[in-house]
Amino acid sequence: MVDDATPAAENPDAEAARAAPLAWRGSMKRFLTLTAGPIVAAFVLSAVILLLVGVNPLTYYGYILERSLFSGLGLEQTATRMAPLLFLCASLIVAFRAGIWNLGTDGQFLLGAVVAAAIAPLLVSVLPGWAVLLTGFVLAMIAGGLWSIVPALLKAYQGVNEIITTLMMSFLGVLLASTLVKLVFRDPETTVPQTRTLPVEDRLPRLFDTSISSGLIWGLVAVLAVHLMMTRTAFGMKLRMVGANPAAASHAGLSVPLLTMATFALSAGFAGLSGASEILGVAGNVRADWNPAYGLMVIPLVFLARFHGVGSIVLVFFYSALLIGSESAARRLGVPQDFTLVLVASLLICLGLGEYIDYRKQKQER
């Protein structure tokens, strides 16, 4: 509570000069409690668990680093893996900043992927390459967006909690995607139920002479565009206002239901794009049992980055490295690949603790 007649009001310049280094140190401390501290603690905690199962944590972490970042091929794989995760970050940043907890990105992602995988191979003989990709992306975006209409309408006009509706629609979406692959879009020439395959030369171009998919670039563009939209434009400001205080938004004359619908459409659209980027860039087809569950994976990263675009990009990079590295480590060191989940779990626990410590501190300072 800033009281009337604080010294700041009387002598703002001197106060500001004194406050600047203090504020810097304060924000540094907060960064340590909220971000850096928990990450270090999570690695230490996981190291303890590794020791308990008889693996040298230094070997394990070293191996992950070596395979994902310090080898050319590993780095390329890491960069390629980032693309769909980045689109999902864009999806979640829009939603979370606007106060909408879209937890149904997995269903939206898969439906986008299936639609892209079903349409693109059919168009290859009809349209030029760029038009095939563009159509695939647009249709995937529409498919993802359509899958959020029910939760969006329920939230905007009935106030139904979107956490529950999006999660439930996500389960349905995952099953629908698999059903579509088996019954409608199945490639008649294969025995495994999967869609037709987009030939490698018709997929998103690779970057330079590497194996990195150019989906990475589009993902980066998506996250940065969303970040700028939310922080620098009138539309973003309106969405943030609805997120922070819907009553104030309608007081200021904004249509909260329409903005809520727009948020859902954008968020689910990006999730659909994410699915398309994985299919049109890397996989080429969708198998009926395929569900990487990237959507839920990205949520902690976006939280850790405080919904900040650049922060999300950095974290997605490290997370992709972890995924790629642990895949190799699993093969080499016998640590199950699911150990990444142990790491993520300890990270979440430590983040929660950091948040709690910060909350206690802030309360004391008041």
Binding site: T233, R240, A248, H251
Partner: protein, 537 residues
Amino acid sequence: MSTSVAMATETANDLPPVPGAGVIGVHRVTKRFPGVTAVDDVSLTIHPGEVHVLLGENGAGKSTLVGILAGLQEPDEGYLSVDGNRTRLASPSASLNAGISTVFQHSMLVPTLTVLENLTLGAPWYERPPRARIEARMAELKREFSLSLPLDAVTGDLSLGQQQQIEIARALLRDSKVLILDEATSMLTPQGAQELGARMQKLVKGGLAVIFITHKLAEAYQFGDRISVLKQGALAGEMGPEQLKSMTEKQAVDEIVRLMFGREDGATSTEHRQSTARAETLLRIEQLATEGDADVVGLENVSLALKAGEILGIAGIDGNGQKQLAEAVAGQRPVSAGRVEFDGIDITRATVAQRREIGLRYLTDDRLEEGSVGAFPVSENTVLKDVGRPPFWVNGIERPARIAQHARDLIARFSVYTPSETTPIGRLSGGNIQKVLLGRELSGEARAVVFNKPTYGLDLQNIDASRQRISEIAAQGMGVVLISTDLDELMALSDRIAVIEGGRIRGVVDNDGGGEALRLRIGRMMAGAEEHMETME
């Protein structure tokens, strides 16, 4: 739980009400919050066998007093006594142990549990609910106080009146000596309120003391044995049982109106503002109506006219349709009938943004929940109503430097005390948030402003500054609709005062500057008495 159930009937017999000796004493209690003295040197004696009404408008300090008795807050000065012994009620359980049960305005029951489960909440976890004993007690309560409750019904399925009965039953099962009912009739139908009144009389006959908090004058007279009137935190007067019995209803109501709305001795005589009204009518409201529901009063047939340079006061006890009127004029609330005209143009269907554009502004009374976004910096809060418009946004792109400059100008012009324009507005005091919002409403081409309780919850210095600002606005030729529950404020500033009650305009009077007769006339209209509209256009 078990002991209290067993002892329940004995206490009433063992401790017959001793006349004159209070079961609870409030001794010179003062409670301050930042910027406001909520309870100011109040002394009360609560007698067993009486319904003691605490009457006062919103913000008069009733809720704080309830909080102190319920153990939620402790007094800064003064003390409480129970049965003549000085006591500290440091926690809700201390209050319960002292025999004080509180039924709060909003239900404190768990809607998904059954009635029986709600009644036994708070018992030790290892005990099974003593169903047989509670059933026996409930049968007794039913005979004595006609409290009839289906023990196995799910609480959320019951009516609000029945839920309140559960809370009363819970208090009786706890063997309380004092029952506090905080705004207990606000959720009830008129018939439910009558039933509650009859029940309170039965309860006090059994030796209980009931403290009944209300802002409704008629209820105070009908249900109360003793009435204490609170005004701006201080005790404005008290009427004992003998005094009440000796008066006719009309005399009693007049006396209560005088206590509630009369000018108290020693109050600074506020100077009456000179009228600056001009000839042209700026805002015309004709037979306006809005939908109401269980919680919200609907407007009915509201007609008002506002001239440029005029201050039209809207008097009324809180919750009688003031907010709905303000929102309907601002375009925030759908109108079911009637029309609103601004400067000769029909704006009944215009959006909030269109109305703001032509100069009609609305300063909400809900500074935190509606007026501002607490987590946003002061600078963004100054332009919340201009999102997307030049010069702060050009082609949809934000111009942070211009917004910051605008905010700094506003901070300087309205003397907002804040470390900087980047401070989240939620960290500012209420008075400073109010200044920011006022600055926001007056920026650009403002021509008429609806103020909803502009000084509510502010400290004296800020109240004076706000009132000064309002008369300046009128002097500049803007029209002002001033909604307030503070009659002194209205009498000091307004050209005319309209009184709203139950969503209707009960009358419009010319303000001659604070004659006692006028004040009481307004007070009676606020309490619901109809009056011919004498000065309507």
